[in-house]
């Protein structure tokens, strides 16, 4: 036989390769830059491990109110190899800031002026010292590993793009029913379910438990030490939270606290938080609730408020995760692939035991379509309503959020459209229903079959009934993050068209499947679908549009 040379690379678009390489370069470089920054920090942490422990005397320690947080300044003296030094650093950073008043108490207790504390001195430069050094390498190593994923994917894309190798045809794509896609799908669903359960646990369940436990806490008078609206800058917007620090006494012992509510989440809307702060000026007396079992535990507002229920929103992710999981598990079973040794040539059958579908089955469910649309409508409008309420509140508080109103308008209109669609599907449930009798015989290419139908419900409402045999190609593909399905009908035969209610109520139709065409075929992305469409026109009501999928077998072989 004549051999063909197969060492060369399969030609593909150079522009695409260049684009992929640029993308990979940027992607990998971002990861590499991040990894380098973390590694520099790690190097400093490792170096500080060799710093020498020494005693020091605290000369001064103060916590200052910064704009929205606290700043710690300290001064201490220490000796190293007979020389005396003055240190002013708490950690490796010059300016140490923190948010919690609990930290303030811890620092002022630990570094009381005149007391002796422990510091760490750089043996190479004894004028450098800190009171606290980072010793754990775990967060840094974790960050480097995380950044490595970006580096490997990014630079790996470049290598794979230009690697001079032609992949086998059977490895150039995903095998039908293969396990790779299934694993990715399972991972995707698991992440969704995990997010949807873990976040509500911490954002809703835990605060709710604490809120219930706090009903037994005792009211105590306290003095406001600090009152401010704290801003938290995110990627897209800034959110705000109320910060109130206070001092109270239990059995003559002073305590300080700064918990306003158990749910510490911040949100948009500055005005209402500013109003709370205005009602709690510095020096004013307020009532706080203290845990009788631990006097250091206190809170201003025991009730979490309506914002607590925002913590339930991520449950939607879990619901979607479960839905996708069920859909995926009900999909076609995966084929098995493996190798068995033995003999010169080992045979391995890869065909999974395939289910034989019924000759006729209904496509879709009206109730299912309604609930799906209802779910989408609730999901969409639930999210939009959060922003809508916030915008309405801003209008009510004499602000004029014109931009956010204009931005929200199309989302609100789409939400109204979804509500309308859900209502349409609800009405459709009560339309007359077409039914086909189950067939005892199978449908095959080149064969004629008789199908019996009947319309359940009020047939008188239907003005015209049409039954059509169709065959179509369905090709599903991805563009970016979206998935599309193109359909092309290659056969269409009208089997019944009538305006007579008696003929509509029930009857028989003959289905002739031409011999020279294609049988039913179903792969994950490509299908040949044979169907009977039953259409009925109904005045002032959603029309009857039922479809029955026919399983058309290959041509029967005469034995």
């Amino acid at each position: 036989m004549q051999f063909k040379h197969r060492a060369g690379r399969q030609a593909s678009g150079t522009a695409g390769k260049v684009f992929t390489s640029i993308f990979g370069l940027v992607f990998g470089s971002i990861g590499l830059s991040f990894a380098i920054v973390v590694l520099v920090g790690l190097r400093q942490t490792v170096q500080m491990k060799s710093w020498v422990v020494s005693d020091c005397v605290i000369e001064a320690a103060e916590v200052h109110d910064a704009d929205e947080d606290y700043q710690f300044t300290v001064r201490y003296r220490y000796e190293y190899e007979g020389s005396r030094y003055i240190g002013t650093r708490y950690t490796s950073t010059d300016d140490y800031r923190f948010e919690s008043i609990a930290t303030k108490q811890e620092l002022l207790t630990a570094y009381d002026p005149g007391t002796t504390a422990r510091c760490f001195v750089n043996p190479d430069n004894p004028s450098q010292a800190v009171l606290k050094r980072e010793t754990s390498l775990l967060p840094g190593v974790g960050s480097v590993l995380f950044a490595s994923i970006f580096v490997i994917i990014g630079y790996g894309m470049i290598v794979v793009t230009w690697w001079p190798r032609r992949p086998p045809v059977t490895q150039a794509t995903t095998e039908t029913g293969g396990t790779a896609g299934r694993r990715i799908g399972l991972l995707f669903c698991s992440v969704f379910i995990l997010i949807g359960l873990v976040i509500p646990y911490f954002a809703f369940v835990k605060p709710l438990q604490r809120q219930r436990a706090a009903r037994r806490w005792i009211p105590v008078e306290a003095e406001v030490l600090k009152s401010a609206v704290r801003s938290h800058r995110g990627d897209d917007s800034t959110t705000y939270s109320v910060y109130i620090a206070y001092r109270y006494e239990i059995d003559g012992i002073p305590y300080e606290g700064d918990r306003y509510r158990f749910s510490s989440s911040s949100s948009s809307g500055h005005a209402e938080k500013a109003e709370i702060v205005r009602q709690h000026p510095v020096g004013s007396r307020i009532t706080v609730y203290v845990d009788p079992a631990d006097s250091a535990e206190s809170v201003v507002q025991r009730e979490a408020g309506a914002s607590l229920y925002l913590g339930l929103i991520p449950v939607v992710f879990a619901v979607f995760g479960f839905l996708f999981l069920i859909i995926m598990l009900r999909a076609a079973p995966a084929s098995t692939a493996g190798h068995t040794a033995g003999g010169t040539m080992t045979r391995q059958r890869n065909r999974a035991k395939e289910k034989i579908p019924p000759a006729v089955r209904r496509s879709g469910s009206r109730v299912g379509a309604f609930f799906l649309m209802l779910f989408i409508s609730i999901f969409w409008n639930g999210i939009v309503s959060v922003f809508l309420m916030s915008t309405i509140k801003e209008w009510q508080s004499d602000q004029r959020p014109v931009f956010s109103t204009l931005f929200l308008t199309p989302f609100v209109l789409a939400g109204l459209g979804l509500i309308g669609a859900a209502f349409h599907f609800l009405l459709k449930i009560f339309s007359p229903v077409a039914e086909l009798e189950p067939m005892t015989d199978s449908l095959s290419l080149g064969k004629s079959s008789v199908l019996r139908f009947r319309i359940r419900g009020n047939v008188q409402r239907i003005t015209q009934l049409t039954i059509t045999l169709t065959a179509r190609e369905e090709a599903t593909y991805s563009r970016g993050t979206n998935t599309y399905t193109d359909r092309h009908v290659f056969l269409e035969q009208t089997r019944l068209k009538t305006m007579d209610p008696k003929q509509m109520a029930s009857g028989e139709i003959t289905v002739n499947i031409p011999p020279g065409t294609m049988h039913s075929f179903e792969a994950p992305h490509n299908k040949i679908v044979w169907s009977l469409k039953v259409s009925g026109t109904i005045s002032h009501w959603p029309d009857l549009n039922d479809e029955f999928i026919l399983n058309v077998n290959p041509r029967e072989v005469q034995s």
Binding site: H5, A172, H339, A475, H488, F490, L491, A523, N526
Partner: protein, 122 residues
């Protein structure tokens, strides 16, 4: 010496259930670690590619140069077809190390690809 590999079929058109026969051979500079002959179908066209390997035969202890006969019992379906959006082709592929070759054939009741492009309305 550059690597050479090839697969040929006795015929390029088959009916469902028939026996497909052919030859596969290769001549490589190094002894390959593994070799496979695969019977598969694959789609092309508008949709994302679907592929199904029906048989995957592993060649035990493959040589650097080897010529062997193979035979596959063909299934009843799916037929080879060409549509407006989708084309389905059958093939036999030989993969030896990093070298590969593929031979395509048609499977249908008349031994030909079914063409389904036109719309019929009655």
């Amino acid at each position: 010496m550059s690597d050479q590999i090839g697969v040929t079929l006795e015929r390029t058109a088959y009916r469902p259930g028939e026996q497909l026969t052919g030859k596969a051979g290769w001549q490589l500079s190094d002894t390959p670690k593994k070799a496979h002959i695969r019977l598969f179908w694959k789609t092309s066209g508008k949709g994302t590619v679907d592929l199904k390997i029906l048989e995957d035969r592993k060649i035990d202890a493959p040589q650097a140069a080897q010529l062997l006969d193979f035979a596959f019992a063909l299934p009843d379906d799916p037929y080879s077809f060409e549509g407006h959006l989708i084309t389905l082709r059958w093939g036999v592929e030989v993969v030896v190390g990093k070298a590969t070759d593929c031979a395509w054939f048609e499977l249908g009741p008349d031994g030909h690809t079914c063409r389904i492009g036109a719309t019929t309305a009655r």
